[in-house]
């Protein structure tokens, strides 16, 4: 089978201006930050981002002017605040926020994953959020009677999914060590037309075969694999390393002001000539080791 190993820069070429990008992200949990930084460097524009809960990658992409739309359930960096650059852009009307409850978002993506025009949920019933999206959400009756009303959620098929995982082989069999499995890795890739995976390590297929039940994405569902150790930094990658609290605080401090945010992105995203240079710039081995200690504490 043709190997799928490529670089972040080449993988990002699979993403065009105007694309809908499904992005793995929770408040501070694993996000494919190497690819996020690459999109900022390559100045992608007019992206629609799909997240369950957007954290720092959403704020950075918003600050860099990459986004015109966000589809998801929440945006927050939890203890590090509310993603001010993103929030201000929504308040200005520069980014459209298509807000969905978790089950409604998952129903839309699950429908695309399964080739269905829609799936249903009882979430969102009687909220104000349904009428805000008549093209995507519609209240329908149980055709068998007796079951009451449900919300039909129209299929949402992103152009590309970006996820980060522990390891893969060159064919694209992607494996996770025991950890939280959020919907962003369980259904985002299946719903999307192309899938780009960054991983902590590239291994031989025989290593994957020792734990076949821990493969989260089979080779045929993966288009590109990028080797990116610490590729989730500054988000966490349990059980390998924790989130970088200092980096998050540095960003939230900078993100209060557009100029400071730009300077921060220049220093940590646009400036470093390589992934290794980025890691050196955020504190190098010393910092990364301390994050590893956090994860194994």
């Amino acid at each position: 089978m043709a190997g799928k190993l490529t670089t972040a820069a080449e993988a990002a070429a699979l993403i065009s201006d105007g694309d809908t990008v499904a992005l793995q992200s929770m408040a501070t949990f694993t996000a494919p930050m190497t690819m996020v930084r690459e999109l900022i460097r390559q100045e992608r524009r007019d992206l629609t981002l799909v997240c369950l809960v957007g954290g720092i990658p959403v704020d950075m992409l918003a600050a860099a002017g990459c986004l015109s739309r966000f589809i998801g359930a929440a945006v927050s960096m939890e203890q590090f605040g509310l993603c001010n650059q993103f929030r201000k852009a929504v308040e200005r009307g520069d980014i459209v926020f298509e807000e969905l409850s978790e089950t409604a978002l998952l129903a839309r993506l699950g429908a695309a994953a399964r080739g269905l025009p829609f799936q249903i949920t009882r979430g969102l019933l009687a909220t104000d959020l349904i009428d805000l999206q008549p093209d995507n959400l519609r209240v329908i009756d149980d055709p068998f009677g007796g079951g009451g009303s449900v919300v039909a959620c129209r299929a949402l098929a992103p152009d590309v999914a970006l996820v980060h995982a522990h390891r893969a082989d060159e064919q694209g069999n992607v494996q996770m060590d025991p950890t939280a499995l959020w919907p962003d890795i369980r259904v985002f890739p299946k719903a999307s037309r192309r899938v780009i995976v960054t991983v902590e390590e590239i291994v031989d297929g025989d290593r994957i075969r020792t734990e076949p039940d821990r493969v989260v994405l089979p080779s045929f569902a993966v288009d590109a694999v990028v080797h990116a150790p610490y590729g989730a930094h500054p988000t966490s990658c349990f059980p390998r390393y924790g989130y970088d609290a200092d980096f998050h605080r540095g960003w939230t401090g900078a993100a209060r002001d557009p100029d400071a945010a730009r300077a921060f992105l220049d220093e940590h995203v646009r400036g470093p000539a390589s992934h290794e240079a980025y890691l050196d710039g955020v504190g190098g081995v010393r910092r990364l080791s301390s994050l590893e200690r956090l994860a194994s504490a």
Binding site: A73, A74, R87, T121, A126
Partner: protein
């Protein structure tokens, strides 16, 4: 025996802990220190078999102490199971048999127990304040859960007459509107930093049940953006016991992380 000294976070945690019993299953989301401390307290006191799904991931974890995040792996260390979320957690949550009580916090809560975490202001698309988003509350309000609110900011900005946008369905317009739409469950209790409130049986309007020690009904009303009902049997919120305070301070949250909600 009530504690000689305690703070309002400890009182709220002790009060919230009493909501949960053996046989319940509970879950927490992000920045949820009051619920997490309350679950951990209940498991150490009257409800040792309370099933806790930390962060909707880790089943019955053994965290050493409350960490800085309630949606990170530190919280679900040493779990007996990691529950995959897309298919497993949501089936358990939506089924109706499990996870029947759900704790919610809203940037706005109104007199009928509707909550808003979406947007402040009349123009949704150009909001005065863009809030984080409905996340799971947009589901939990509609799928029959018994809702329990907590709020560390009892003020007229949080407790508003009508939320700008209903992103969590409470009693809607009050009365039997919720039942008429076929929705079961709904808001039962609000534990704030000033008082404990429920919803009157007929009107479904928010009603003071107990005021915290040292707080008057008038102070609660003044901090609320709509007229509150007052229960006939109005009482005082019980102070936490000395043992409860000790557990919170020494075992559950020695770093005092819970206080970040009370800044």
């Amino acid at each position: 025996m009530s504690a000689p000294d305690y703070t309002v976070d400890e009182l709220m945690i002790a009060r919230v802990a009493r909501v949960f019993e053996n046989g319940d299953q509970v879950v927490n989301g992000m920045a949820s220190f009051v619920p997490v401390c309350a679950y951990m307290l209940a498991r150490r006191t009257h409800a040792p078999d309370l099933v806790w799904l930390a962060g909707a991931v880790g089943l019955d974890p053994r965290p050493q102490r409350v960490p800085a995040s309630t949606l990170e792996s530190d919280l679900w260390r040493d779990s007996v199971a990691y529950v995959e979320q897309y298919e497993d957690f949501w089936s358990y949550a939506l089924n109706g048999r499990w996870l029947t009580k759900f704790m919610v916090r809203g940037a706005q809560i109104d007199m009928y127990g509707n909550a808003n975490n979406s947007a402040v202001g009349p123009d949704y698309h150009r909001p005065k304040v863009r809030l984080p988003g409905t996340a799971g509350m947009g589901d939990m309000g509609s799928i029959g859960k018994r809702l329990f609110y907590w709020s560390s900011t009892h003020d007229p900005r949080t407790f508003v007459e009508r939320v700008d946008w209903i992103s969590c369905a409470g009693h809607l317009g009050g009365g039997d509107e919720r039942a008429r739409l076929g929705l079961e469950g709904g808001p039962e209790l609000v534990v704030s930093n000033l008082a404990v409130m429920d919803f009157a049986p007929e009107s479904k309007r928010m009603r003071i049940r107990t005021v915290h020690p040292g707080v008057t009904v008038e102070q609660v009303q003044e901090a609320t953006g709509f007229p509150l009902l007052v229960a006939d049997d109005l009482g005082e919120t019980p102070a936490p016991t000395a043992e409860e305070v000790r557990l919170i301070r020494e075992e559950i949250d020695p770093d005092g992380t819970r206080k970040t909600e009370f800044r």
